[in-house]
């Protein structure tokens, strides 16, 4: 700025200097007796052209280029302001193209490409079990996991790694009854922060000494974000936090850049692995069936991931042999001993988001690339139209002595201004869009935090693309115009009779490609929308509306395990007694929540090698009534099914079919395999119900066996109660809250609607449908603008021709048909090309669709018709304007 001020001051200095001189010259003359007026005239004569003198003087400093550039920029700005329609269209087009691309890329970058914010992330590798499917017991995470025993072995022998660490993300409760409040916790091994190379910004991080068996509660390291949120950035070291009702002291704070190891999920509080038994009801440290720790290691210089993987493979038999405990199901021991560990690069951290959103995001990036192409085409035709319209003006300027390069530079400065304005608006839009995207991905239970960076390289690339488009399509006509003989341009510059047809050729190509690309986008938008609709309308076999999920936790009440069952039933009865509650049931697996439980089963009396896989769910009575699952045969669970009575089960139709039970399933008995917590069990089938979907709405219904919760000897201190009511969710929620508080203030609770939960499980699908819908609409609008522009241009150009035709007797309808004919030709070519492209592109989307084929002809037809109607409407307006021309006036215009 100061440089510019200097320049401005220098300019006014010269003005003043010359003015002073004129003043003195006049005064001299007046003093010599010349009358004032005469003196003035004489001085003016002597001075000649003052602005020219100033120009030449300024040129002495070699700065005239700056002055000319600023003049041209000012001029360009004035011209743009004078044509607000064009300017807004161009800037909006650019902003949308640039903004959408930047936002999608930022998201893709944050989820897929960025490395972990730690020291030398490329040296990091994760360790996991090759054949995890065979593992028995509880698997705590979608991320690769091992048991604590395996981790302790690897901690002793981690050849190839300079350091190795274990972690698990978890939630710690922060309430003391009432509304559940959680913080994102992290179990970490003592070496975790050192291995990752994350230094504390205050206090200290854990050391190996902090993470020894029997450590108790040795303190917590908190994240920067949590520090700000909880302590407002004030003194935090030494302060106590209550996690799962246990106090713990803050010993250190990590830097703001460090979010943990799992991309998309930030941690609040980290505590050592050794404190797990002191913080939770059950110790996970000595079990060979609790798979809960994820491993990450830093490679030794000189070791490759491959070498480490080979070494891990070699030591695996020893590790698995020494970590086997009696709790492991006997029949699976052979599989356990045959397991192998391996290593994989982990520079970008691990991410559930990545697996879920990788394909949709790549597809969206492709789509936004298409949008950019359409944007460029649109911009190109806008610039072409504008510059072509200036040909006459440029001819005049040339004729009166303007320099050719000066004229070209003027066109260029307009392009520059447009590109810059578009890019700035695009950057602002990208900010908004990317925040919107994250907000979209955020759900109540699953807070997503992503580290967005405005990628300067990407932004520069997009700016360059828009600049090149503007300059290219602004410059080409400018060059041509500046090369035409002024005389010739003046002659044809008006509304010629035949001129301009050739030029539409290129604009026609632009329109055709716009239409083609728009069809692809519209088609994919419709595909994804329809797919989402299929998913939402898909019948899971039960009624999802009007069901509230109440998650209760009464751990705090410390009820002994043998009395928990009774307490649960009592609590459930209290809820059932609420007047607005139609039905309520408890389950350990909420359907379509993503949770699941599977075991193998076989018919009693059959060979136990004839095993089948089945899903399981432990439910209370009224479960089927609550979800409106029809009971086909037999009965529901009832009060007579107790821990003392013979074990009973209700199965679905697929289960009966799979095990070959046919129509008389009731009364049949099946075995469930041994699990870490229970031996083989014989169950008698007392009822058969209709099929329902289990884990995810995308998957077809499979075999499900329902067991009675009332027969479970190891009742938990948590409940997931499904409540059906005709009242609005909020009202029921209030009533349940009151009831639970009446029982005890130490119970914490959390509510979600079943439908809400299903909607959240379809996040990726919704993201795709919404964004592709947005882009599809955008593409259609851009295509409309493009076609409208070209047709208006044609009509303006053919005014004389139309006038003559009408003078010779052509009717309005003839004129409309004549003009629309041209639009239809472009449209048909564009649609045919677009249909071909769409079919080619659709196969890439097949995996992301539900309930329809990627080459769905009905959808393609719908997209084509939709686009055709919109495009015809856009070209009808100019055509109608053409037909309304007054023949006499249009001929006189020449």
């Amino acid at each position: 700025m100061s440089w510019w001020q200097f320049f401005a001051r220098w300019r006014s200095d010269l003005d003043e200097e010359i003015e002073a001189q004129i003043h003195m010259a006049v005064r001299d003359r007046v003093e010599r007796g010349v009358p004032l007026e005469q003196a003035r005239v004489a001085v003016a004569k002597e001075f000649g052209n003052v602005p020219l003198v100033m120009d030449v003087t300024r040129a002495m400093w070699g700065w005239e280029w700056l002055e000319r550039a600023s003049q041209d920029l000012k001029y360009a700005l004035r011209r743009l302001i004078k044509a607000p329609g064009f300017t807004i269209a161009a800037v909006a087009t650019l902003a949308l193209g640039i903004g959408a691309n930047t936002a999608i890329f930022e998201l893709l970058d944050a989820v897929l490409l960025q490395s972990l914010p730690v020291k030398n992330p490329q040296q990091l590798a994760e360790v996991h079990v090759v054949d995890m499917d065979k593992a028995r017991g509880s698997v705590f995470s979608g991320y690769p996991v091992v048991t604590n025993l395996i981790w302790e072995k690897l901690r002793e022998d981690h050849q190839g790694f300079s350091g190795i660490a274990a972690w698990r993300d978890t939630q710690f409760s922060r309430d003391s009854g009432g509304n559940a409040r959680f913080v994102n916790g992290l179990w970490v091994s003592g070496d975790f922060f050192r291995v990752l190379g994350v230094p504390p910004i205050q206090g200290r991080v854990f050391t190996v000494e902090d993470d020894r068996r029997g450590c108790g509660l040795p303190g917590a390291v908190i994240s920067y974000g949590f520090w700000q949120q909880e302590f407002g950035g004030g003194p935090a070291l030494g302060r106590k936090l209550l996690l799962n009702d246990k106090p713990v002291e803050v010993i250190g704070i990590t830097p703001s850049s460090f979010f943990g190891v799992a991309v998309g999920r930030s941690f609040d509080v980290a505590v050592p692995v050794c404190s797990q038994p002191y913080r939770e009801t059950r110790s996970l440290l000595d079990s060979s069936t609790e798979w809960w720790l994820s491993l990450i290691g830093r490679l030794d210089p000189g070791w490759s991931v491959k070498q480490v993987a080979a070494y891990l493979g070699a030591i695996s038999p020893g590790i698995f042999a020494s970590t086997l405990r009696p709790d492991y199901p006997v029949e699976s021991v052979k599989d356990y001993l045959a397991m192998k560990l391996t290593a994989a690069p982990s520079a970008a951290g691990v991410s559930m988001l990545r697996e879920t959103y990788s394909d949709p995001l790549k597809f969206l990036l492709g789509i936004s690339g298409f949008v950019l192409l359409i944007t460029c085409a649109n911009l190109a035709s806008l610039m072409l139209a504008r510059t072509s319209a200036r040909e006459r003006e440029m001819a005049v300027r040339l004729a009166i002595g303007a320099g050719r390069w000066r004229l070209i530079w003027q066109v260029l400065s307009e392009s520059l201004l447009l590109s810059l304005a578009g890019a700035l608006a695009g950057a602002a839009l990208a900010r908004m869009l990317s925040h919107g995207l994250v907000a979209y991905l955020n759900t109540k239970d699953d807070a997503v935090t992503l580290d967005f960076k405005l990628d300067c390289r990407l932004f520069a690339f997009l700016l360059a693309v828009s600049l090149v488009t503007c300059v290219l399509f602004g410059l080409a006509p400018a060059l041509r115009a500046s090369r035409t003989t002024p005389g010739a341009a003046m002659k044809t510059g008006g509304h010629g009779m035949t001129a301009g047809r050739g030029r539409l050729g290129f604009r026609g190509v632009l329109v055709v490609s716009q239409v083609a690309l728009s069809l692809v986008l519209l088609f994919s938008a419709l595909l994804f929308t329809e797919s989402l609709r299929n998913l939402l309308l898909n019948d899971p076999g039960f009624r999802t509306d009007g069901v509230l999920i109440a998650a209760l936790d009464f751990t705090r009440l410390q009820i002994p395990v043998e009395r928990r069952g009774a307490f649960q039933r009592q609590l459930l009865d209290r809820i059932r007694a609420i007047p607005s509650v139609d039905a309520a049931a408890d389950t350990n697996v909420v359907p379509l929540s993503g949770a699941g439980w599977g075991n193998t089963v076989w018919i009693d009396g059959h060979d136990s090698t004839q095993r089948h896989d089945s899903n399981f769910s432990a439910v209370s009575s009224d479960y089927f009534k609550t979800l409106r699952i029809p009971i086909v045969a037999g009965r529901d669970f009832n009060d007579r099914d107790t821990t003392q009575s013979p074990r009973v089960a209700v199965v679905n139709e697929t289960f009966a079919r799979k095990l070959g039970l046919g129509a008389n399933a009731v009364g049949a008995r099946f075995w469930r395999e041994a699990t870490p917590s229970s031996p083989e069990e014989l169950n008698e089938i007392v009822g058969v119900v209709k099929d329902t979907k289990y884990r995810h709405i995308r998957r077809p219904a499979g075999a499900i066996a329902y067991l009675a919760l009332s027969q479970d000897k190891d009742a938990e201190s948590t409940m997931r109660i499904l409540v059906r009511s005709g009242l609005p969710m909020d009202a029921v929620e209030q009533a349940i809250r009151r009831t639970i508080r009446e029982v005890s203030s130490g119970i914490s609770f959390d509510f979600t609607g079943l439908q809400e939960q299903i909607r959240q499980s379809l996040l990726a699908e919704r993201l795709l449908a919404t964004l592709s819908g947005f882009f599809g609409a955008l593409a259609v609008v851009l295509a409309m603008i493009g076609l409208y522009g070209v047709m208006s241009y044609t009509v303006a150009e053919r005014t004389n021709e139309i006038g003559i035709r009408m003078a010779l007797g052509a009717g309005r309808a003839n004129v409309i048909v004549m003009i629309l004919g041209k639009a239809v030709r472009m449209l048909v070519v564009g649609l045919v090309l677009g249909a071909g492209l769409s079919l080619a592109a659709a196969s890439a989307a097949s995996a992301m669709l539900f309930g329809l084929k990627p080459r769905d002809p009905a959808t393609l037809a719908l997209a084509t018709v939709l686009l055709a109607v919109v495009a015809l409407a856009a070209s009808y307006l100019p055509a109608r304007r053409g037909s309304k021309l007054d023949p006499i006036a249009s001929l006189r215009e020449e």
């Binding site: 200095d13 010269l14 003043e16 200097e17 010359i18 002073a20 001189q21 003043h23 003195m24 010259a25 005064r27 001299d28 002597e46 001075f47 000649g48 052209n49 020219l52 003198v53 100033m54 030449v56 003087t57 300024r58 040129a59 002495m60 400093w61 070699g62 040339l398 004729a399 002595g401 303007a402 320099g403 050719r404 090369r483 003989t485 002024p486």
Partner: protein
Amino acid sequence: MPTSMKKPAEKASPYQNRIELLQGTLDMLILQTLQWGPQHGYGISQAIRTRSGDVLQVETGSLYPALHRLERQGWVHSEWKLTESNQRARYYRITATGKKQLASDHGRWQQMVEAIGAIMGIEPERSEP
């Protein structure tokens, strides 16, 4: 390029041509004038005019470009001051390098006058600047 094209006229100025003619000489005259003390543009042109007996009239269109050129070369330095009649004006002052330049210009001019004089057959006369 089509032959019929009319070459766009470059922005040509009659003043610029005259500067070309006087180049060097005008610079020398200005520097010489400033030898006698700081002066503003109008004063310089008046000085040259009176000293040359009204023969040399420096036009504004030549004077200011020349002054600014000299300033850019660092041969003169300028500052705003008030004239005796309380008029704000930019005063130019010769710098040390300007003095050096004047000496060398002067020498060259002398040589030139002698050389031209020899050709024209006129006895060189020591003329007071």
